[in-house]
C-alpha cells in the first residue's frame, strides 16, 4: 500500500492522532507541566477507559446501521445490579460482577430480539427499553449512593503500571479483541456486510436478522464491561450513572470515522476520538469554563463531521463516475 492511498483511507485517524498529540502538548505547555505529573496522567487515563468502552458499545450497533439509545440506561441498571448484589446481598465480587455483566448482555439481546421480531427501527425500540430501564435503575438505587461493596474492587481501580491504570488496559484489550472480531472472523464480516448493504447481504446468504441480533447483544456485553470499570473506578453507585453516556457514546465513534449509515467500524479512530474529547474536558477544567461548553463543542463537531463525511463520500463517488466515463 503506498503512502497516498494509506493517507486517504486513514485520513480521519491520522488527523485525529495529530490533533490529540498537539492538544496534549498545548495543555502540558499551558499548565506548566502539571499535566505530566503521575497523578494527573493517571486521572486522565482512568476517565478515558469508560468513554472508550461506551463508544465501542455504540459503534457495534452503528455497524449494522442502527443506534442504541439505551446505552446509558443499560449501564446504569447493570452497575446498579452489581452494587446492590455486592452491598446488600453479600455476593462475592466475581459473582456480583458476573451477574451484572450478564444482565447487560441480556438487555442487549432483548433489544436485538425486539428489533428483529417487530421489524422496527432500532432507535424507537431502544427509546422504549431506555424508558423502562430508567425505571428499573431508579427502583434499584432509589436516591441513595451505594458504596458498601468490598474495597478491594475500588483498590483495583486505582492500581496502575506507571501512570497507566489497569482499567484502561482492560478497555484497550477489549478494543483489540473487537477489532480482531470484525476483521478476522466470518461472523464479524457478516455483521459489517449487513450494515453496508442489507439487500446484497441477504442475496449472498447472510442472515440479516442474526447480524442485527449479534450487534445488539455485543453492544450489551460492551456496556457490561463499561459497568464493571465504572464500579471499579468510582467510589459509589447512584442513579446518575449512565445519564451522560449518550452524547459521548455517539461522539467518539462518529468523530472517529464510523459512518452512521452502517457497514464500517473504526476501533482505533473511536479510541483516539475518545482521547480528544477527554482533552477538551481537561481544557475546560484547566481554564475553568462552564461544562456546557464541552457538550456544545462536541455537538457541533459531531454535526459537522456527519455532514462532512457524507459530502466527502458523495464527492468521491462523483470522482469515480467521472473517471470511468473519461476512461
Amino acid at each position: 500500500m503506498n503512502l497516498k492511498s494509506f493517507l486517504r483511507h486513514r485520513m480521519t485517524e491520522a488527523s485525529l492522532t495529530l490533533i490529540f498529540i498537539l492538544g496534549f502538548l498545548a495543555l502540558v505547555a499551558t499548565s506548566q507541566g502539571v499535566l505530566l505529573s503521575e497523578e494527573s496522567l493517571q486521572s486522565f487515563f482512568t476517565y478515558l477507559a469508560i468513554p472508550i468502552l461506551i463508544g465501542m458499545a455504540q459503534m457495534v450497533v452503528l455497524a449494522v446501521g442502527q443506534m442504541n439509545l439505551a446505552v446509558g440506561a443499560m449501564g446504569g441498571v447493570s452497575s446498579a445490579v452489581m452494587a446492590v448484589l455486592m452491598a446488600d446481598h453479600k455476593f462475592p465480587i466475581w459473582a456480583g460482577l458476573l451477574v451484572g455483566f450478564l444482565s447487560a448482555l441480556a438487555m442487549g439481546a432483548i433489544n436485538g430480539a425486539l428489533v428483529v421480531v417487530t421489524q422496527l427501527n432500532g432507535f424507537i425500540i431502544t427509546l422504549g427499553t431506555m424508558t423502562i430501564l430508567l425505571g428499573f435503575q431508579y427502583r434499584l438505587v432509589r436516591t441513595f449512593t451505594i458504596d458498601q461493596y468490598p474495597t478491594s474492587l475500588s483498590d483495583f481501580g486505582t492500581k496502575s503500571i506507571g501512570p497507566v491504570p489497569y482499567i484502561l488496559l482492560i478497555s484497550l484489550a477489549v478494543s483489540v479483541l473487537l477489532s480482531l472480531y470484525f476483521t478476522r472472523t466470518g461472523s464479524g464480516r457478516r455483521v459489517l456486510a449487513t450494515g453496508g448493504n442489507p439487500l446484497a447481504a441477504r442475496l449472498s446468504g447472510i442472515s440479516n436478522a442474526r447480524s442485527v441480533f449479534i450487534a445488539h447483544t455485543l453492544s450489551g456485553a460492551l456496556v457490561g464491561a463499561a459497568s464493571i470499570i465504572t464500579i471499579a473506578s468510582l467510589s459509589g453507585i447512584n442513579r446518575s450513572i449512565g445519564g451522560d453516556w449518550m452524547l459521548s457514546s455517539f461522539a467518539a465513534p462518529i468523530i472517529g470515522g464510523v459512518l452512521m449509515a452502517g457497514g464500517t467500524i473504526a476501533v482505533y479512530g473511536t479510541v483516539i476520538a475518545a482521547g480528544v474529547i477527554r482533552l477538551v474536558d481537561i481544557a475546560r477544567a484547566q481554564y475553568s469554563l462552564d461544562p456546557s461548553i464541552v457538550s456544545f463543542t462536541v455537538g457541533v463537531v459531531v454535526l459537522s463531521t456527519v455532514a462532512l463525511s457524507e459530502w466527502r463520500r458523495r464527492g468521491s463517488e462523483r470522482q469515480h463516475v467521472g473517471r470511468k466515463v473519461s476512461a
Binding site: M67, L114, V117, T118, Q119, L120, N121, F123, I124, I125, L127, G128, T129, M130, T131, I132, L133, L134, G135, F136, Q137, Y138, R139, L247, F250, A251, I254, M260, A261, D290, P291, S292, I293, V294, S295, F296, T297, V298, G299, V300, V302, L303, V306, A307, E310, W311, R314
Partner: protein, 341 residues
C-alpha cells in the same frame, strides 16, 4: 352480519378504541381513588400538560409524515422558549410579540435542520440527534452566561392569565364553562385545526404525505421533494417552539429544563394515535387522544401513589406494546389477504 361488520369497522378505528380505553381508565382510576376527579389538583393540570404535549406530538407528527424523525423536538422547544424568555427579560417585548419570537426561532431551527438533511443526504434522525447535542450545550451555556438564576423570570402582562385561568370564569347567560379546561387548550386547538386542515384538505399536505409514502413516486410526479422535506421540518420546528413557549408559560419561567422530557411523549402521542413511523399516514386527532391516554395513565398511577420508576416502566411498555400491536395487525392482514387470493 351487516351490523357486526359495522361494529368491527368502528372498533378497528384506532381513535374510537383509544377513546374507549382512555375513558375506561379514567373512570377506573377515579373510582379507585376519588382524588383523581379533583378539578384543581388533577384534572386542570392534566389538561394543561395534555395541551402542551399534544403540540409536541404534532411537531413530531410533521416529521413523521415525510418518514423522518425529529429527535431534537425537546431542544428546539428549549431554544424557542429561551428566545421568548430573553425577549421578555432584556428587550421588554409584549406577550404576543415574545411568542412570535419563539415561533420564528423554532421555524428557523427547523429550516436549518431540513436544509442540512436535504443538502447532506444524511438520515434525518442522525442530523436531528447531532442537532440535539449541539443545542443542548448551547442552551445551557446561554442560561448560565446571561442569567443569574439560570432562568429568565420576567413575566409579561397577561402571562398569569394564560397559566391559571380556566373556562369557569367565562359565563354566557349564567352558564359558566367547566372548571377543568385551562386556557392553554386554545393554542392546542388552533394547532390541531391548522395541522389537520393542512394534511386533510390542502395540496401541500397531500404532497407532504406522498413524499413520505414514496419518495421516488413523489419526485416523478413533479413534487419538489427537497422543498417539501424542508417545509415539514419547518412545521416541526415551529410546533416544537410553540410547545416550548407553552411550557414556559405553564412553569412561569424559562429555563434550560424546558423540553428535556419531550422526546418520549412526542412519539407516544402520534404512534398510539396511528401515525406510521415510515411516513405517508398521519393521525392528527389521534395524536391528542394518544397523548390523553398516556397522561391519564401517568396521572392515574401517580394519584394511586405509585412512584416515578413504575411510571417510566409503564410508559415504555405502552410504547413497545403499541408498536408491536401495529406490527402484529399488519402481519394478520397480510396473512388474511394471502389466504383470500
Amino acid at each position: 352480519m351487516k351490523l357486526t361488520r359495522k361494529i368491527t369497522s368502528i372498533l378497528s378505528d384506532q381513535r374510537v378504541v383509544l377513546s374507549i380505553i382512555t375513558l375506561a381508565l379514567f373512570l377506573f382510576f377515579g373510582l379507585k381513588n376519588k382524588a383523581f376527579f379533583s378539578a384543581d389538583f388533577v384534572l386542570f393540570p392534566l389538561l394543561r400538560d395534555a395541551a402542551t404535549i399534544t403540540v409536541v406530538g404534532l411537531a413530531q407528527l410533521c416529521a413523521l409524515s415525510i418518514g423522518h424523525l425529529n429527535l431534537a423536538v425537546g431542544r428546539m422547544a428549549a431554544v424557542s422558549a429561551m428566545a421568548t424568555g430573553y425577549s421578555y427579560q432584556y428587550l421588554g417585548f409584549s406577550l404576543p410579540l415574545g411568542v412570535l419570537v419563539g415561533l420564528i426561532t423554532g421555524a428557523l431551527l427547523g429550516a436549518l435542520t431540513g436544509w442540512i438533511v436535504v443538502k447532506s443526504q444524511v438520515n434525518a434522525f442522525i442530523v436531528t440527534l447531532a442537532m440535539d447535542f449541539a443545542l443542548l450545550g448551547f442552551v445551557t451555556f446561554i442560561y448560565v452566561t446571561f442569567t443569574p438564576a439560570a432562568a429568565f423570570t420576567t413575566k409579561p402582562a397577561g402571562m398569569d392569565f394564560w397559566r391559571n385561568t380556566s373556562l369557569a370564569q367565562y359565563c354566557i347567560a349564567g352558564v359558566c364553562g367547566p372548571k377543568i379546561f385551562p386556557m392553554m387548550i386554545f393554542p392546542m386547538i388552533v394547532a390541531l385545526l391548522l395541522v389537520g386542515f393542512m394534511y386533510g384538505k390542502t395540496r401541500l399536505g397531500r404532497e407532504l404525505l406522498l413524499t413520505g409514502s414514496n419518495l421516488r413516486a413523489a419526485k416523478l410526479s413533479g413534487i419538489p421533494v427537497d422543498r417539501r422535506v424542508i417545509t415539514a421540518h419547518i412545521f416541526s420546528g415551529t410546533l416544537a417552539g410553540l410547545a416550548g413557549v407553552m411550557l414556559g408559560f405553564t412553569n412561569g419561567s424559562f429555563s434550560a429544563a424546558i423540553g428535556s422530557e419531550f422526546m418520549l411523549p412526542s412519539f407516544l402521542g402520534p404512534v398510539l394515535g396511528g401515525t406510521l413511523l415510515t411516513g405517508g399516514s398521519v393521525a392528527v386527532f389521534g395524536t391528542m387522544m394518544g397523548t390523553l391516554l398516556t397522561l391519564v395513565i401517568r396521572q392515574g398511577l401517580s394519584v394511586q401513589g405509585i412512584g416515578l420508576e413504575t411510571l417510566n416502566i409503564a410508559l415504555g411498555l405502552v410504547l413497545l406494546l403499541a408498536l408491536s400491536l401495529g406490527q402484529i395487525q399488519k402481519m394478520f392482514t397480510s396473512i388474511r389477504s394471502r389466504g383470500r387470493t
